[in-house]
Symmetry: none
Subunit: 132 residues, 4 copies
């Protein structure tokens, strides 16, 4: 698993960590039962305070994505994958709807918006292909 954080981009670090872990669970990079790096290890790797990682892990536990195995570490929960995938879908849908609404309400013609959308899709798939 490859985590990257960018401080000072507005999003709290612990939240960046949470999102990336949920993402990894959703796409299967992290599978249920798998142990995550320990708080201290991950903190060191990301050059971040252990408390920050602790908080990310903590909140992911209350979201039932991770679970603490006493003395052994922290692992991905059983039903986590399904939950993360659906979370991501709804979040994505909300964001897309919000953008479209703002555009339409701002007087942008649907045709023009569609052009922008098509362009964005084309570019995104090209990027994706390049990385693969």
């Amino acid at each position: 698993m490859q985590l990257t954080i960018e401080p000072n981009n507005g999003m709290p670090i612990f939240e960046q960590v949470m999102r990336q872990i949920k993402f990894a669970v959703a796409e299967g990079t992290l599978v249920p039962g798998q142990l995550l790096p320990s708080v201290r290890i991950l903190a060191k790797k990301l050059a971040v305070n252990p408390n920050t990682i602790q908080r990310a892990y903590q909140e992911l536990q209350t979201e039932e994505v991770l679970e603490s195995l006493r003395g052994r570490g922290i692992a991905v929960c059983a039903g986590a994958k399904r939950r993360c995938v659906s979370d991501r879908q709804t979040l994505l849908g909300q964001r897309l709807t919000a953008v479209v609404e703002d555009a339409i309400r701002g007087g942008l013609e649907p045709e023009r918006l569609r052009e922008m959308f098509d362009k964005a899709i084309k570019q995104a798939t090209r990027n994706e292909g390049a990385q693969a």
Copy 2:
């Protein structure tokens, strides 16, 4: 001009005010040269701390959307409309691109994304029509 703020929705109040003023300028509800309500009046109307309005006006001045007319008040700048319109366009483009990128990078098929987009458009135009 009709401003509405919703506290605690995550976006700072001063930013909500800024966006709505820029929006009004972009669509022509506020025209260059027009005077805005005084800080105190607007603060009272929105039931908001005057400091908050002050900051919104302040930052809009540094963005050259508003200008302070000594002793008369605060008015919309000359070239503000063009600037606001293009601002809104680029911002919208960025948001749309970001959502699309996240979706594709997250493994969503372009066809599925397009369906979501079409649904969002249909709903947004329906809402818009209802309001008009």
Copy 3:
């Protein structure tokens, strides 16, 4: 509102604070909309680190018992009372069931258990009456 914490009794301090706040909401000492003491004030009053109070408030927000009013403070949520009351009921039920089960499973005769229960009730009501 009167909060008391006892360190070193096993229960984390932030959890003691949470429980007592939920209790106060449940019994109506704290009413929806009411502002709580600020993080710093309460921390000082309880002779505890502000972070500890912050965490209690934080988690009560994710449980939708409290809500943060930006720049103004932290207040009791609208639907909080009902939620806290039902929470307390279910929790109580679970504890009672657990004790009874342990007793029966341990071979205690139901009649003997009922005697103990009656004695506990009598004593508890007497205490309660004394305080009132």
Copy 4:
């Protein structure tokens, strides 16, 4: 003797082991003088760290429930049964009293509490009967 542990239910594993051993002594499944399985054997059977069993045995020795017989193993103490039985009684009494007190102090009417108690008793005896 049949021990079962459930990790991550909040109660430390060594304590679960202790309670179950005391329980077995109290009900006579384990009789004074009887040898317990060795630390390693039991640890393996429960799929648990030997240190954990070691600690359970250790603390049961300081409570004079078990005693170490040099070279032969660990056995149940002479007066252990009486002690365990009375321990269990007082513990049970304390828990029951605590629950009842919390309920009454929380404003629950004694009649309502009694209903809950009766229901719990009925269910517990039914479960017990089913298992027997």
